[in-house]
């Protein structure tokens, strides 16, 4: 027991410095998410509950927007799958690293968000530090930052003395920034244009309430049909 405790302690001390850049980002983004959810008319428990149940920032923002609309379970589920699809590839990259982690493995997989993936996938774990505990604490610390930020935002959102009108734009700005980062990574911008173009065309055709499912179908079709030229542009 003492041996495993000290192994855990060493791993925590080794893991923490790697998570500091995530600390600031998650606190601020989590806070804006908490305030945004409150400003959209939800109680403290909605953003905090979603932070635990979903634990994926982009989808949590979208979920708040979906909760303010009409009940559309099929569209909700398909959108959630598409938004979270990138996690499939995180998982594939971590198959080897998360092997033989015992009881920690289910938690490591559940908590595999973008930021935790970026650390656990690339970090050089120092000699003498237990790999399982190290990756466990990276995951746990990152999740606690997000949860703390969300909770602070969800409390502040109820007492903010100025008008929060327009704060919902945080979600738009977040997606613009992520989109731009993806866009800049590619030499040719076909995939970004396919996403924008499909959504715009389907919005014009099907209207605001029913365009997301056709958009996702359209994106998958176009990516499949134009795979060869797109793949050449990706490399």
């Amino acid at each position: 027991m003492t041996k495993s405790k000290s192994a855990a302690g060493r791993a925590l001390r080794a893991a923490f410095p790697h998570t500091i850049p995530i600390l600031a980002g998650f606190l601020v983004l989590g806070m804006s998410y908490g305030v945004y959810a409150r400003a959209s008319g939800f109680s403290f428990w909605y953003p905090v509950g979603m932070a635990v149940a979903i634990f994926g920032g982009s989808l949590e923002f979208v979920a708040v927007a979906m909760l303010t609309g009409t009940f559309a379970p099929v569209q909700t589920f398909l959108m959630a799958l598409m938004i979270q699809a990138r996690h499939l590839f995180y998982g594939i990259s971590m198959l080897e690293k998360y092997k033989g982690m015992g009881w920690k493995k289910p938690y490591l997989i559940y908590a595999l968000c973008d930021e935790t993936f970026s650390i656990n996938c690339s970090v050089e774990i120092p000699q003498g530090v237990d790999r399982g505990w190290f990756m466990f604490f990276v995951s746990l610390l990152d999740q606690s930052y997000w949860l703390t930020g969300t909770a602070i935002g969800a409390i502040l959102g109820g007492v903010i003395p100025f008008s929060t009108e327009g704060l919902d734009f945080a979600m738009t700005a977040l997606f613009v920034v992520i989109f731009l980062d993806q866009w800049l990574k590619e030499k040719k911008h076909w995939t970004g244009l396919i996403g924008l173009g499909s959504a715009l065309a389907c919005l014009a055709l099907f209207g605001a309430d029913g365009f997301m499912i056709p958009t996702m179908a359209c994106i998958l079709c176009l990516l499949t049909v134009f795979r060869r030229p797109i793949e050449r542009g990706l490399d």
Binding site: I92, F169, T172
Partner: protein, 108 residues
Amino acid sequence: MTVPQRLITIGLCALATLITRFLPFLVFSPQRPTPKYIRYLGKALPAAIFGMLVIYCLKDVSLLTGSHGAPQFIAIAVTAALHLWRRQMLLSVAGGTVCYMLLVQLVF
């Protein structure tokens, strides 16, 4: 939405997330190479999906009435300009959001 409908919506989001996180560990193995088509989608999907989400955020903007989407487009331009300038996600998001809040509260 009623409370049960809200809980179902949140549950579906959580379920979809769990599926995308656990599926690779259930169907792929480190020994077997991942199908090429799946690997291709991994590289090609993100930009398309976030492009889609930007439009999703703007779906209720009316170009023909009210302020014609001017505050949204100005704030997006500010967000993008900040991001191209500094490449600091938090600065770009905060700057764009504050700009939008000022526009809708004071100007439009």
